[in-house]
C-alpha cells in the first residue's frame, strides 16, 4: 500500500494531526486553556496571521512571495486612523482602505510581472516603502476612538461561545480560498506556474495575469487584515502589525508549503498557522518564557522541513525492504 502510506505521511496531514493532539492535550492538562474566553483570545489573535496566510499560500504555490503584507496592513491602518481623525465616515473609510490595499498589491504585481523583478527583492523594498508612507501619513498619532459597534465586532465573541465574531467571515474566506486553489482551473494553473513557469506559458496559461491577480488579492487581504487589526486592538498606529510577515511565512512554511513553488495545500498552511498560535498560547499559560518560545518556534520550523524528508526516506526504505522480501 505505498499509495496510502505516502498519503498518510504527507506533511500537511501531520501538521493537522499535531494541532489536534495539542488541542486535546491542552484541554485536559493546561489550566485556563479550555475556557471560552481563552479560546476566543487564541483565535482572535491568530486571525490576522490566518487572514494573510490565505493569499500568501496561493502566492507561494505559484512561486512568488510577498513580504510587504505587514506594511500594507500597517499602511491601511494608518490611513484609516488619519481619515477618521479628519472626520470622514468609517463606512467610506473602509472601502477606501481596501482600495489602497489593492493599489499596494498592484504595485508589487506590476513590478514583478512587467519588469520581471524577483518578488523577494521587490517586496523587501515595498516592505520599507509602505511602512515609511504609513509613518508619514499618521506620524506619531495613535488613533483609538473608533466607533464601538465596529470595535465590538472585531474584538467581540459570538454570544458566549469561544468563537470571535470575525471568525465566521474568515471561515467564508477560507472556504473560498480552498475552492479556488484546489478545485478551479485557476488554482490548477497556479501549481503549474509554481512548478515550471515556462511550461505553464507553453500550455497557454496566462502567467503574468495570474500573478498580477494574486498580488492584488494579497494586497486587498493585507489591507483587510490591517483594518481588522486596528479595530481588534482599538489602535491605529503606523507600526501596527510590524513583523507579521515573518509570522505568516513561518506558519505557511510549517504547513508544508514549498517555497520553490508548485506544492502544498491550504489545509496544511492554516493548520500551521493555528498550530503556532495554539502552541504560543499554551506555552504562555505554562509560563514558558518568551525567549524559550522563540527557540521552540525555530526548532519546529527546522523539523517541519526535516520531518517530511526523514519520513520519505523511511517510506522508501520500507518499500525497498518489502520489494526485497
Amino acid at each position: 500500500m505505498p499509495d496510502s502510506l505516502t498519503r498518510a505521511i504527507r506533511w500537511d496531514t501531520v501538521v493537522g494531526a499535531l494541532l489536534v493532539v495539542l488541542l486535546l492535550l491542552s484541554f485536559g492538562t493546561v489550566d485556563g486553556f479550555g475556557n471560552a474566553l481563552n479560546l476566543s483570545f487564541l483565535i482572535g489573535n491568530t486571525l490576522p496571521i490566518a487572514l494573510i496566510a490565505l493569499p500568501m499560500t496561493l502566492l507561494v504555490v505559484s512561486g512568488e512571495i510577498d513580504l510587504s503584507v505587514a506594511s500594507t496592513a500597517g499602511l491601511s491602518g494608518a490611513v484609516m486612523g488619519k481619515l477618521w481623525n479628519e472626520g470622514m465616515a468609517i463606512e467610506t473609510i473602509i472601502p477606501l482602505c481596501l482600495l489602497l490595499g489593492v493599489v499596494c498589491g498592484l504595485v508589487n504585481g506590476l513590478l514583478v510581472t512587467r519588469l520581471g523583478l524577483p518578488s523577494l527583492a521587490v517586496t523587501i523594498g515595498t516592505l520599507a516603502a509602505y511602512r515609511g508612507i504609513a509613518q508619514i501619513v499618521l506620524g506619531s498619532d495613535a488613533v483609538t476612538d473608533f466607533p464601538s459597534q465596529y470595535l465590538n465586532f472585531a474584538a467581540g465573541r459570538l454570544g458566549n461561545t469561544f468563537l470571535p465574531q470575525a471568525f465566521l467571515p474568515f471561515l467564508v474566506l477560507l472556504v473560498i480560498a480552498v475552492v479556488v486553489l484546489h478545485a478551479t482551473p485557476f488554482g490548477r494553473s497556479l501549481f503549474a506556474i509554481g512548478a515550471s513557469e515556462e511550461a505553464a506559458r507553453f500550455a497557454g496559461i496566462r502567467v503574468k495575469r495570474h500573478k498580477l491577480i494574486l498580488f492584488t488579492v494579497t494586497g486587498l487581504m493585507a489591507s483587510l487584515t490591517g483594518i481588522f487589526w486596528a479595530l481588534h486592538y482599538a489602535s491605529a498606529r503606523y507600526d501596527n502589525a510590524t513583523g507579521l510577515e515573518l509570522s505568516v511565512v513561518a506558519a505557511v512554511l510549517l504547513g508544508g508549503i514549498d517555497f520553490d513553488g508548485g506544492k502544498g495545500t491550504l489545509g496544511g498552511a492554516i493548520a500551521g498557522v493555528f498550530l503556532l498560535g495554539a502552541l504560543q498560547n499554551v506555552m504562555s499559560l505554562l509560563n514558558v518564557s518568551a525567549q524559550s518560545q522563540i527557540v521552540v518556534t525555530g526548532v519546529l520550523l527546522v523539523i517541519s522541513v526535516l520531518g517530511p524528508r526523514v519520513a520519505r526516506q523511511i517510506a522508501v526504505a520500507r518499500a525497498a525492504a518489502r520489494s526485497a522480501g
Binding site: L111, L115, S292, V305
Partner: protein
C-alpha cells in the same frame, strides 16, 4: 544520415562573440552603475552640506558600511550557491555578546575576536549541515535557526548588557580609530572583501560555488562535492557574521540580547541591490559590498541633508525598488540594443560573404 557536407563552413557565429564581449562588459558595468549612483548621491549631499565630506564625515560613512559589507560578503557566497542564510543577524548578535562577555572578564582583544569568529563558524556549520545534509530549503532552515539562535541568545544574555565601560579602552578606541579618514575596521572589511573576490574568481572551488548555484543537478553530475561546498559557504558566511559581531562590539561598544535583530533584511537588501541574483550562480561580492555601501550611506545622507527621519524609511524603500528597477531596465535595453546591432552585423557579413 548521409546528408553530410563536411567541407561546408560551419554556421558562422562570429557576431555572437563580439556581442557577448559587449554584454560582458555591460555586466561588469552593473557594479559600475551602483558606484555611479553612490557617487552622485554623495556629491549631491556634499553640495547641499559642505560638512558632509569632512574627515569625520568620510570616516563615518566608511564605518557605517563596514559591518554590513562584511555580512553581505558572506551572504553573497551563500546566495551564489542558490541558498540563503537568514540567521546572520542572530549570529552577529550572539557573537558580539560572547566577545563582549569575554572582554568584560578582562580578556585579550584578539582572543575575543577569534571567539566571535569561532562562534560564527559554529552556527554557520550548523546551518550548512542542515541545508546540505538534510537537503532542505535554506529559507526555512535558516529562518528556523534565526529564531533558535536568537532565543538561545536571549536566554543566555537575559537583561545583561555590555557597555563601553566594560571593555578595554584599546578595543573601543580601535573601533573608532584609523589612519586619518580611513578607519581600521574598514581596512579589515576591505581586505576580507578583496580576498573573497579573488578567491571566487581565481580558485577552482570558488568557481564551483557559481556552478552549483547555476545548476545543482549538473554540478552533481560534474563531480563537484556539492555538500562540501555548500557547507563551506555557510561556514564562511557564519564566520564573517561572527567577525562582524566583534566589529559591532568595537564600534558601538554596546550590546545586549537584541543586537542584530532584523539585520537579515538589511543584508538581503544589500545583496539584492548589489546584483547578486537569488536564483544563484551569478553576481559578485563587489556588487554586494557596493550595495551595502549604498544602503548605509542613504541613512547618513538623509539626516545630513536635513530630511526628517520620518521620511527615511519610505525613501529607503523607494530607493531600493528604484535601484533594482533601473538595473533591470538598463539590462533589458542593452540586451535588446545588442540583439539588434548583432542582427544588423550578421546581415552585413552575410551580404559580404555572398559576394565573396
Amino acid at each position: 544520415m548521409t546528408v553530410t557536407t563536411p567541407n561546408e563552413a560551419p554556421v558562422a557565429e562570429v557576431p555572437r562573440s563580439s556581442g557577448t564581449r559587449l554584454v560582458d562588459r555591460v555586466f561588469k558595468m552593473r557594479e559600475l552603475a551602483i558606484l555611479v549612483v553612490f557617487l552622485v548621491m554623495i556629491v549631491v549631499t556634499q553640495i547641499g552640506n559642505s560638512d558632509f565630506l569632512s574627515e569625520q564625515g568620510i570616516k563615518d560613512l566608511l564605518l557605517n558600511a563596514t559591518i554590513l559589507v562584511l555580512v553581505a560578503t558572506g551572504q553573497s557566497l551563500v546566495v551564489i550557491t542558490r541558498n540563503v542564510d537568514l540567521s546572520v543577524g542572530s549570529t552577529l548578535g550572539i557573537a558580539a555578546f560572547a566577545a563582549g562577555d569575554y572582554l568584560h572578564g578582562g580578556g585579550n582583544a584578539v582572543v575575543a575576536v577569534v571567539l566571535a569568529v569561532l562562534l560564527g563558524v559554529g552556527f554557520g556549520l550548523l546551518n550548512g549541515l542542515l541545508v546540505s545534509l538534510g537537503q532542505v530549503p535554506a529559507l526555512v532552515v535558516t529562518l528556523g535557526t534565526l529564531y533558535i539562535i536568537r532565543g538561545i541568545d536571549s536566554i543566555w544574555v537575559g537583561s545583561r548588557q555590555i557597555t563601553a565601560a566594560d571593555l578595554p579602552g584599546g578595543f573601543v578606541d580601535f573601533g573608532s580609530g584609523g589612519i586619518s579618514a580611513v578607519p581600521w575596521l574598514a581596512l579589515i572589511a576591505l581586505a576580507v572583501l578583496v580576498a573573497t573576490a579573488y578567491y571566487l574568481k581565481h580558485f577552482g572551488s570558488g568557481r564551483e560555488l557559481y556552478a552549483l548555484g547555476s545548476n545543482p543537478e549538473a554540478a552533481r553530475l560534474a563531480g563537484i562535492p556539492v555538500r562540501k561546498r555548500i557547507l563551506a559557504a555557510y561556514t564562511f558566511c557564519g564566520a564573517l557574521a561572527g567577525l562582524a559581531g566583534a566589529m559591532y562590539l568595537a564600534r558601538f561598544g554596546n550590546v545586549d540580547s537584541g543586537t542584530g535583530t532584523g539585520y537579515e533584511l538589511t543584508v538581503v537588501s544589500a545583496v539584492v541591490v548589489g546584483g547578486v541574483v537569488f536564483t544563484g550562480g551569478s553576481g559578485s561580492v563587489y556588487g554586494a559590498a557596493l550595495g551595502a555601501l549604498l544602503l548605509t550611506s542613504v541613512n547618513s545622507v538623509l539626516p545630513a541633508l536635513g530630511v526628517s527621519s520620518v521620511w527615511v524609511l519610505a525613501i529607503n524603500g523607494i530607493l531600493l525598488i528604484l535601484a533594482i528597477s533601473v538595473d533591470r531596465i538598463v539590462a533589458l535595453r542593452v540586451a535588446s540594443a545588442l540583439k539588434k546591432s548583432a542582427a544588423k552585423k550578421t546581415a552585413l557579413q552575410k551580404g559580404n560573404a555572398r559576394h565573396a
